[in-house]
Symmetry: C3
Subunit: 334 residues, 3 copies
């Protein structure tokens, strides 16, 4: 339970209306009721403001006129402020230090760490203070996990890999599986190339459920500080990702590609191997990036969805686009 | 072993030929032999009927003339009937009640439940009668699993989530991982928004291997009764899916999208966030849905595959389609 | 530590320069230093050869003139040779035979096998000599694992499935989950079709992290000898893949499709169900294959990525391609 003036004292912003209003939860405008603090992050939701039962709201300065006396915190970026308030109301679960009787440890861990049932930690592993290793996690020999990092249930960190501080890895994540490296014999058989690099994950990185990051072939695969990776992303060997880049679900990044800082990659996008993507690039959902990008900006390649019959009628021409262009040229030359 | 008249007594349909023929297995027309019951679900397989060694077949009324005296069960929907017979011949494995010595339980479970080795169940979890929790599963505090539901090995249900009755969750499924929610600071750093909603899965839902369903940010993520989800699907926070919708493998559904009842979403399709898809929509494989759909029907967006050289020749024009359209306009204006 | 003449004696090739130079590691041209053996697999990296600090290099005959006296092994295929040297320097980890106290075994295993903590092996399982079952793996009743095969941590092999010899399965792999098979009732409800086939994986197969392979509905799903599968691939029921086919990450293959030998399928490609792809087909990244392929060659279907504004301008015409073609026809008819 916080009063608006207490929130402002901690997090900044300015109170409009009754600064003594107390709130104990964040909620959407629709769902909010007595005691709830809602927010308007997007101007298109302003019409809902009037009907919301929220005790108070977080709004941008341009919404002040619409408050009608409702108590509010006025800030430049309501969504960012909402995130901070939500963290205040919903801190991470308290770490419960100790090693479960059904964990298998071949390395010592600090007494401040929480090691769940079924977790296995091989030799020469370094676990930082306050680390949480969830149920059924596996950490290979020689890996290092920085302090404050939390592994949800069933995370795998393979041998020699490094995860920084204050990271969150969700269930099913695999860090450090072998990269996909083979040389081909003349008869078509494949000869495995040992994958002897590591994965090095920076600090404050979050990795979504069932995302996989392969170890480097010779050098390392590197995920920069502050990167946020959603679920079911595949990152191949020797990829390097700059700081604070965010990648949405189901993205695949092929081997040896370098991605800059502060990029945003949309869901189901793909980036082929050996490319360089500069800083501050936005890739739209479903876009296959097949060449390097050297200028910041938004890049897109996707198709308009159509009723099936329209699609058949329109897209049958795609197989003959060169002929169509040739026919236009002929007409021009007449 | 069932005689055809016994099957018809249980499941309906009409026998053609010798009702006393006994069958003990379902099989394809190609593979069937003595004692096998095959089926013809699609008229294009009717020519195979003559050559099949099956002891009996399930056919639609229009195939009766082709039976040539072979015993058959005649029904309106042979494939549906085949499914029911196959269930009769292949019931789900018998539940073996009991808690394995290597399971870690912080909640009590009914004596009718089967809890495998390496499973961990946190505090305040409710497990229904006859539930199977496979080897290495993890169920977070406060979660609820309805009676008759089966979790294969290595399934994760995070804290507070709800799974209904008679569901089947395959290995590697993650229900209730954090949604991908961050607010951005001016310098590009991301501030995590706590994900405090739940995942609520209805009854009779099947979820394929390594599929992930994120918990809601503030409200819940909801999967309706009777939904069937294939492998490696990613469902983001606050998605809502209506009853009996079926989703094929590798589909990604972005945050806050609502999908109606009885939809069918093809493999590798993607649906971006904050959309509404109405009931009875079919999305073709590989299609990216980038706007809401308000009418039932089939929707498609995908490219014709071509030999590489043809693709280069035809698709080089896609970058200049606007210019090409302009040239056609010029010709028309002459 | 090997001298170049020792390497040539074991692996073939011809020494250029000082055959007594000793190397102890493979490295890239960029990273190589004293004692390292680098390689030039691609002519475009030849310019880097001059600057590399490598003690020796592996090159093709046409690079001999550029060696400037540096010691080298000259071979027809430097990349393949590099793979063999890398294997020599980096053998697979030694198997540590024994069963961990926290493993749950209902079948006997050979004394040469290594069974990790948290692994569970059900009844009637056959484990070959020298098999490694990593931490937290689950092997269902009646499954067979051939000698020399290694399962990384947290792999699932479901009941009755077969994995050949000398395979490597990475973390999170699921072999033998139920295929996605349902018949539909008139009211839209789905009736599960029991999936009673198996998965049969050949010898020398590698399967990447979090890849899923479903068991067959009636017959088996089959992965041929020597296939290499990357991470997060989904292979549906009754797919059959020929020998030595390589599949990159995030590919989805729908049910009952047959793929030939020595194919190469690019990342995020998709292949719809019930198709036949012949031997020696290459499918480009991101390509959806929607019809059978009967001739070897490279096949592609993907879009050129564009700056967002260009994409909007050019792709708005895709919805009207049929009209555009009609307008060209009208002009031609004038």
């Amino acid at each position: 339970m916080f009063r608006l003036d207490e929130l402002v004292a901690r997090l900044g912003g300015e109170v409009s209306g009754d600064a003594g209003v107390a709130v104990h939860r964040v909620a959407t405008l629709d769902q909010a009721g007595e005691g709830d603090l809602a927010f308007v992050a997007n101007r298109k939701y302003l019409p809902k403001l009037r009907e919301s039962a929220a005790s108070a709201v977080i709004v941008a300065p341009d919404a002040k006129a619409l408050l009608n006396g409702r108590s509010a915190i006025v800030v430049a970026d309501p969504y960012l402020y909402f995130a901070r308030v939500a963290q205040l109301f919903n801190p991470l679960p308290v770490v419960r230090p100790g090693v479960h009787a059904l964990a298998a440890l071949a390395s010592s861990v600090p007494s401040s760490a929480e090691i769940g049932p079924g977790a296995s930690i091989e030799e020469d592993v370094e676990i930082g203070e306050g680390v949480v290793v969830g149920a059924g996690c596996h950490i290979g020999r020689g890996a290092r996990i920085g302090r404050g990092t939390r592994l949800a249930a069933r995370v795998t960190i393979q041998h020699g890999c490094v995860v920084g501080e204050n990271c969150i890895l969700h269930s099913g994540v695999v860090v450090g599986s072998d990269g996909f490296g083979f040389a081909r014999e003349k008869d078509g058989r494949w000869v495995k190339i040992p994958q002897i690099g590591r994965v090095v994950v920076g600090n404050e990185v979050e990795i979504g459920a069932n995302t996989t990051i392969d170890r480097g072939a010779l050098d390392d695969t590197v995920i920069g500080d502050g990167c946020k990776l959603d679920n079911q992303i595949q990152i191949a060997h020797n990829v390097r990702i700059g700081e604070n880049t965010a990648i949405a679900g189901c993205v695949g990044i092929a081997g040896s590609t370098t991605i800059g800082a502060r990029c945003m990659i949309g869901g189901q996008a793909g980036i082929i191997g050996h490319l360089t993507i500069c800083d501050d690039v936005v890739v739209s959902a479903g876009t296959l990036v097949s060449k390097s990008i050297t200028r910041p900006g938004v890049y897109t390649a996707s198709l308009p969805v159509q009723p099936h019959a329209d699609w058949v009628r329109n897209f049958s021409h795609l197989r003959h686009l060169d002929a169509l262009a040739g026919r236009v040229r002929s007409l021009e030359n007449q």
